[in-house]
Symmetry: C2
Subunit: 228 residues, 2 copies
């Protein structure tokens, strides 16, 4: 599904370039469940943004489902994202002035899903993540972990075959975190969704089937998750 | 230092009240290091906001340093906060249009610290949290964990005797988390700062000396941290 060849990403901030990715090559097959770990600032979100077509690399090749996406335009990238990729952002990225349910409906608005089906799927997704009864509340009326769960619900509704989740459990207690990870594992095992997850919690990474370790913009580890 | 008696906080959202705090009573002495744990939505941030004079309770009594603060005005609460309390918010609350250094300087602006001293302390605090070289970067140019560390640096600069940190390590890798917790422990042991920390990570809670557990708006556990 995913083929990266020597992906580099450099941010130019005044006089000093920041080399966020220094030559990443990576293959991820359809149906895999991969956890990405590494220190703060090591390049995980940068990698996720490129994988998710939210950004393009400075150099290198990226094929998604056989299609070369590294050099696509904004409109083409948006089209791919809307149909094929679900996101949980590190900062949640909820719209402050819209309700939980409306936030969850958003990807479906772009996908042309009819209102009644949109409402139904949004409600179901919010129930799945433990937020039944809170559909009409705005983000500021929800706790940090509740906002995170709205973001998770939103990632699930467009039925995308690829799910990217950047620190989805950072603000969640252990029990809720394990429920969420169980959900991701279920979507992977049963529906064959490819899941790529950033986490710095080893207990959460163990739900995945493969762990990739990033350090200073490079992949330094890539191993299957053992049974011990 | 802190005396809470039967603190209640109810949010009125349309027809349904949400009882975030249902009668919390708590004493915290000067120089303690307390971790607050509990499930998502259990009332931790609500409790922190009241402790930090960012909000007032619906009912109950709160004495901070012997002074009744439960019913103070916005200006009086702001005065207390600016001089006596450092914060790390769950969502970081950085100003997007200002640099890391300017964000860290903010509490000192309100405290009337002269520019040269402000710059010096901000720079030192950013170095302490591992962000040397990134002083002039804006929040969107920093990773999630780097933004969290700017928030932590900001909490340290006004020399407040009380530090409230709501999930300060949620976006940090283990090594960086332990460095930050070590900093908090050092400020507590050496400078006698009272630290109250929300975390859902047991490994982080062990840096504290007392653990309070919140469930459904009530305190259900209050124990010293053991040596095992
Ligand atoms: N401003 C608000 N308006 C309305 N309801 C709120 C508000 N803030 C919090 N709540 C609700 O009060 C309850 C407690 O929220 P609080 O933020 O204290 O939980 P928390 O323990 O910090 O959770 P988390 O671990 O998810 O951050 C939740 O049900 C939440 O939705
Ligand atoms: N938009 C940007 N502009 C400039 N620099 C950036 C930008 N985004 C990230 N960086 C820098 O690139 C490096 C990698 O950032 P990235 O967000 O990928 O790290 P990360 O591994 O996700 O870290 P964290 O665990 O803290 O979230 C960091 O030094 C960061 O400051
Ligand atoms: Mg990140
Ligand atoms: Mg909270």
């Amino acid at each position: 599904l995913i083929e990266l060849r020597d992906i580099r990403k450099t941010y130019h901030l005044g006089e000093i370039p920041v080399h966020a990715l220094r030559g990443v090559s990576l293959d991820i097959d359809k149906g895999e469940f991969v956890a990405v770990m590494g220190a703060s600032g090591s390049g995980k979100s940068t990698l996720m943004n490129i994988l998710g077509c939210l950004d393009t690399p400075s150099r290198g090749e990226y094929r998604l489902g056989g299609q070369d996406v590294a050099r696509l335009s904004g409109d083409d990238l948006a089209r791919i994202r809307n149909r094929r990729i679900g996101f949980v952002f590190q900062g949640f990225n909820l719209l402050a002035r819209t309700t939980a349910a409306e936030n969850v409906e958003l990807p479906m608005l772009y996908g042309g899903v009819p209102p009644r089906e949109r409402h139904r799927r949004a409600r179901e997704a919010l129930h799945l993540v433990g937020l039944k009864g809170r559909e009409h509340h705005h983000p500021h009326q929800l706790s940090g972990g509740q906002q995170q769960r709205v973001a998770i619900a939103r990632s699930l509704v467009n039925g995308a075959p690829l799910l990217l989740a950047d620190e989805p459990t950072g603000n969640l207690d252990s029990t809720t975190s394990e429920e969420i990870m169980g959900l991701f594992r279920k979507f992977n095992d049963i529906e064959g969704i490819t899941v790529i997850l950033v986490t710095h919690e080893p207990e959460m990474a163990r739900y995945a089937k493969r762990i990739i370790t990033v350090r200073d913009g490079l992949i330094v580890g890539d191993e299957p998750v053992g049974k011990g």
